[in-house]
Amino acid sequence: MKELRLMKGNEAIAEAAIRAGVDGYFGYPITPQSEVLEYLMSEQPEKRTGMVVLQAESEVAAINMVYGGAATGKKVMTSSSSPGISLKQEGITYIAGAELPCLIVNVVRGGPGLGTIQPAQSDYFQSVKGGGHGDYKLIVLAPSSVQEMYDFVDLAFTLAFKYRNPALILSDGAIGQMMEKVEISDQKPRWTNEEIIKMSPWATTGKTPDRPHNIITSLDLDPSKQEKFNHKLQAKYKEIEKNEVRFEEIQTKDAEYLFVAYGTSSRICQKSIQMARAKGIKVGLLRPITLFPFPSKRLFELSKQVKGILTVEMSAGQMVEDVKLAVKCSIPVEHYGRMGGIIPSPAEVLTALEQKIL
């Protein structure tokens, strides 16, 4: 049997990073995700696997360290929470523009501004619509348990390297801080330099006589080339949309109504479903696991089955826009959410369903 541990979500991210054979983590403290860096520092992964862990002078420096490390083909990552992720946007758009694989973890807290240190889901737009300047997308994974916090680290790197694209784990302060049982995977070895050169021939590993020099940049001053490059990026995002949509359905088979929620909200909705069904209301849940790519196709199929959809988000309503686009306005789609660090209760979600959709 696999090893089981009781861990915080943030600790699961850190342990998973070591076990996934990550080469470097560059971070900066911010509540509610500081345990990632704390756990790594106490584990001394340089002794376990040779992994580099560095506390940077700012979130800006940390993401640019990720940029530098990713360009050399290494598995590198950072984590932060909302205000820190805003600071990182410059680096993220460069990384996306230079088509580099890496992992960014956002343990979301309420905003805007300094906001609160309590959990929220109000960084959805920033995560799935780009975040920084220019036309780009991140691969966005939304864990709803500590186990998924753990599992998605390795998955994020697999996808990031498959598409040469930065991946983001969009979590929140609740999942980051909560403790759950986690099944720990076996230690993956870190890639050797030879493996990296073979796998990522584009990486800046030192120019050898057998190849031209490698350049990692997001700059092209020739408009026709820059447009061509942008088309290439868009084609890549289409490919990701085609191949990588992930979601979970709960009690949708006979559902007449549907919740759409991810992360912490999706956990609340599961209880709301039980309460609703006890009252004879047949409601199910679609939980997007990938927020980009979004499960639009499946939602459109479900829109032919259900009479209405309620999205539940800890925000003013962001994902609801993508749900509306997905169902092409064929059925009513409403939003229910709490803000400022408040997690909605199952009862209030049920009431919202009854008042807004039924």
């Binding site: 420096a61 940029y67 490390g69 030192g206």
Partner: protein
């Protein structure tokens, strides 16, 4: 003298004493006529050639006039966001301690927007080389005031001269980083005369050799011209630099390791 020696007699492979290093990619440089960047590029590349470390070197280009440095240097290079080159270099070196890692940055990049990255990479004692070109102006964007613009010096955003009361003082960041325990070798050079170029070359060579010792940052400032930004002829710009820049940014070593004195 038996016969007159002609140019054809002299121009033969066996008489070659100087040629452009093959690491300098054969395309026209994007710099203005007379700009010191070209010489600084050449010295970095000659150093890499002479040390035989082309396959072990990773460079980081900045934002500014030398944003396209990677177009001319036949080594693996990355282009950093404005000011962030030392952060990139930190990670590259930590992940590849066996490689030679350098940044090539201008004054706006290194001493304004990237001040935090510069100071902290220097203070952590990252085992990297920083080449810092200081021409006292933002050249790329059209000659705006830089952190190193001299008091009273005119630029497009200080058209009546830099007024230190309202615009602040020029920053001697090289003296500043020399104070940090993480810097191992800090020097200020120039490339406007043959003698200065030979000295700058020695400094750059030492700054790269130092990476073998793993003792911290080697920091080479090169005070250079920006004849377009200064609105002068190239030769006149070099003279102006000697008269005005050097008194404020005096050339010479600022911090030399005891064992290399």
């Amino acid at each position: 003298m038996a016969e007159k020696i002609t140019t054809n007699d002299i121009v033969k492979e066996e008489n070659l004493v100087f040629r452009k290093t093959p690491l300098f990619i054969d395309k026209p440089l994007s710099y203005c006529p007379g700009c010191g960047h070209g010489v600084a590029h050449r010295l970095v590349l000659e150093t890499i050639e002479e040390m035989g470390i082309q396959s072990e070197t990773i460079g980081v280009a900045p934002v500014g006039c030398s944003v396209l440095a990677y177009e001319f240097m036949d080594i693996d290079m990355q282009q950093a966001a404005h000011g962030r080159a030392p952060a990139l270099a930190t990670a590259i070196k930590r992940l590849h301690p066996e490689k030679f890692v350098f940044t090539y940055q201008g004054d706006g990049d290194l001493a304004a927007i990237g001040t935090a990255e510069t100071i902290h990479a220097c203070n952590r004692g990252e085992n990297i080389t920083i080449i810092f070109i200081n021409n006292g102006i933002y050249g790329m964007t059209g000659g705006q005031m830089a952190p190193t613009t001299l008091p009273g010096m005119k630029s497009s955003t200080s058209p009546y001269g830099r007024d230190i009361k309202t615009m602040g003082n020029p920053l001697k960041i090289t003296e500043l980083v020399a104070q940090l325990p993480g810097t191992y070798y800090v020097t200020r050079q120039a490339v406007h005369t043959p003698g200065a170029v030979r000295k700058a070359k020695k400094a750059i060579r030492m700054a790269f050799e130092n990476q073998k010792l793993n003792k911290g940052v080697s920091f080479v400032e090169i005070v250079s011209n920006c004849n377009s930004g200064w609105k002068m002829e190239p030769v006149q710009a070099n003279e102006w630099m000697v008269e005005n820049m050097f008194p404020f940014f005096p050339l010479g070593d600022i911090k030399v390791p005891a064992e290399q004195k």
